[in-house]
Symmetry: C2
Subunit: 220 residues, 2 copies
Amino acid sequence: MPAFIFDLDGTLIDTSYAHVMAWQQSLDEVDIPVDGWRIHRRIGMSGGLLLHALSDELSCKISPDLARRLQERHGEIFRESPCVGRPLRGAIKLLRKLRELEIPYGIATSGTRPGIKPSLDALQIDDSVIVVEGKSIKHPKPEPDELERCRQRLNVPAEECFVVGDAIWDLLAASRAKMFSIGLLSGGYPARELFDAGAHRVFCDPTELHDSLYQLGLCP
Amino acid sequence: MPAFIFDLDGTLIDTSYAHVMAWQQSLDEVDIPVDGWRIHRRIGMSGGLLLHALSDELSCKISPDLARRLQERHGEIFRESPCVGRPLRGAIKLLRKLRELEIPYGIATSGTRPGIKPSLDALQIDDSVIVVEGKSIKHPKPEPDELERCRQRLNVPAEECFVVGDAIWDLLAASRAKMFSIGLLSGGYPARELFDAGAHRVFCDPTELHDSLYQLGLCP
């Protein structure tokens, strides 16, 4: 029996663009101007890794203390966004379909509660669903630890897991965890980059994945 | 002597993400939910074409009257964004360099005054620079009319023009106008799609174009 491990932001919830704006504003406030597209390409990493990558790319120094404050401020701005709790097209239908088919699934996200609570609520994900949060993991995506933890709790072998994510960081982590991965375009990453990062298949959004489960050998 | 014709939003000004959010909010307000990534892929079109494309893609009906109201509402929300008037990295330096080298340039944008006024001001573009606005043109990008009008006013032959844009719509229009085109990643479009749309070269942002003018046979 296969299982699914879903990323959250950009995969089930339409928050990628709100994250870009929130990072940009929080960096602006400390006089580190970063163009939106550079942030977008790092969305899906943990906040700590994203800031590390941007500081490296722009040759600016972000101390651990500043990084902590930026992550807090990003969270504050993000929570005010109207996109928080906005499921992507077909996300609720897809999860319902998996429950009907009795296919197990879990969530592995770099986000943490309480920040992700509105997203989980909007997706009707209750305590019966396994949710691995970033704060519980020492090495976030693109390292495989989050996926591996979720897999253990689902109690399925790696070769039966489909990882679904919108960012190349999800797919790279899936490769390292020896799992199949499915890329979605719904976070704004290019299809070519998702394939290059190891995606077994790429679909537009949760609706197209729902309609294409037969391509994965499900829904005969 | 070559000349440059620049797109504005996403090419010289960091507004692509703010446009996505403004379109999404204005569509939400009339109960037409559209995921952010679908809007992003249409940014760079005129508002009318963008709404036509989305309504087609999502099989929903947007009457001409509703389209007019949505465009007005998008403009209102957009003008409140903190990104309005935020030049992309290197944009001012690039335009200054062209003036130093006495290389003529103009702007051809789907936007119109007064909406684009803060962007022009932030880029220090005064009345001496040729600016072709969307409202003065019947057939917007990806049709070649805006570029052709700008070229006529610059008084240079098409084969001497480099069109610089972040969206495939800019590059498709350049092909139709028989001009060379330069793609920039700064609007968030994938490099592969920019090349597929005919880009002669693709650079990250105005800074990299500034540093690479020698690749175009300029700045020996």
